[in-house]
Amino acid sequence: MVLAVMDLSVGRGLVEVLRGVSFRLAPGAALVLRGPNGAGKTTLLRTLAGLTPPFAGRVEAEPDSVAYAGHADGIKAQLTVAENLDFWAAVFGRDEVGAAMDAFDLRGLADRRAGELSAGQKRRLSLARLLVAGRPVWCLDEPTVSLDAENVARFAAAVTAHLAAGGAAVMATHIELGIGSAETLDVARFAAPPPSAGDPGADPFGGDAPL
């Protein structure tokens, strides 16, 4: 088990968004999060990545096992593609960036400044960082934004290879990636009910009882 989520409640700011989320991911498993905009996919992923503290419940994973990729690419425009990847390799204590470049066809762009890349190329660079990080659990928020069909296939291949190597992935995405083993979780099922007094993590100033 690389990631276990137990009775998790997550929220943005003071507002609880999802409640009672539970799932377990074995090595090689992938989970695709679905749900309308604002349903809480991003909040759930940020909580899994340890950025947002949960309202209640637990996320169990090995320390430093989660790699997160959000909406922002996290790319420095003044650095070249290779320099960007080298930096992340150093931060994650690894030295191998060649395979990551190959997986997302970045060799030809290695010496280009990242600021000159197109949106899709930037996204590929940001996805290549996942391979560089070398972490077993991927938490990806809309990873295929701005990718064309060819590069969506590249991404799907990278995920498949990651799963085959014993990794796991949780992804919020609206397109069909064609990853056979992927299961789907509709987060709308876990939409938090309107707050009532006594909820763990509920706004202590809310509820029905008057002040």
């Binding site: 950025l51 690419d73 996290g74």
Partner: protein
Amino acid sequence: MIALILRDLRLAFRAGGGFGLALAFFLIVVVLVPFGVGPETGRLSGIAPGILWLGALLACLLSLDRVFQLDWEDGSLELLATSALPLETLAFAKAIAHWLTTGLPLVVAAPLLGVMLNLPGPAYPWLAASLAVGTPGLSAIGTFGAALTVGIKRGGLLLSLLVLPLYVPSLIFGAMTATRAAEALDPLPPLALLAGLSLAAAAAMPFAAAGALRVNLR
């Protein structure tokens, strides 16, 4: 941590990185002072240590909003927060990078600008020493201020309001070191206090900064 410092240095030196802006600001402040107080060399040499320290402090302040803001905007900060690098280390590395790109050039430039303000001879080494010892503290304290305001749009003014009162002790001890040297008094006590302050700030402020970053990243 080394990689982060190197990256920040590289970014500072690349186009648009802002290296040298603080230095130019320092120069302008020092050049403007005689226009304000008059050209008499006697008066200028009396206030030179204070002006140089104040100029260095303001130049340092000016560059603080870049410390975390750029990484915040492009998403690097949350990625760094999910990496194995503790936020405390991150804040410490950021303070070091800020000092290398801002504080260190100020230390080098200050004696040259001292000539323009007719700083008395014996004060030069002590001015440089006080800035060399004091500016790391300014960077450490400033990094904390930058961490507090990272999530706030147009937080630059708030950052100044928060950080400037925290700079008071450093300014007092630093300027006093140079002033006492200029007046042929023993400059060592304020320098020692300044060193203590900088060391304490370098040791403690990364923890406060990391706490603030954690809140802002939620």
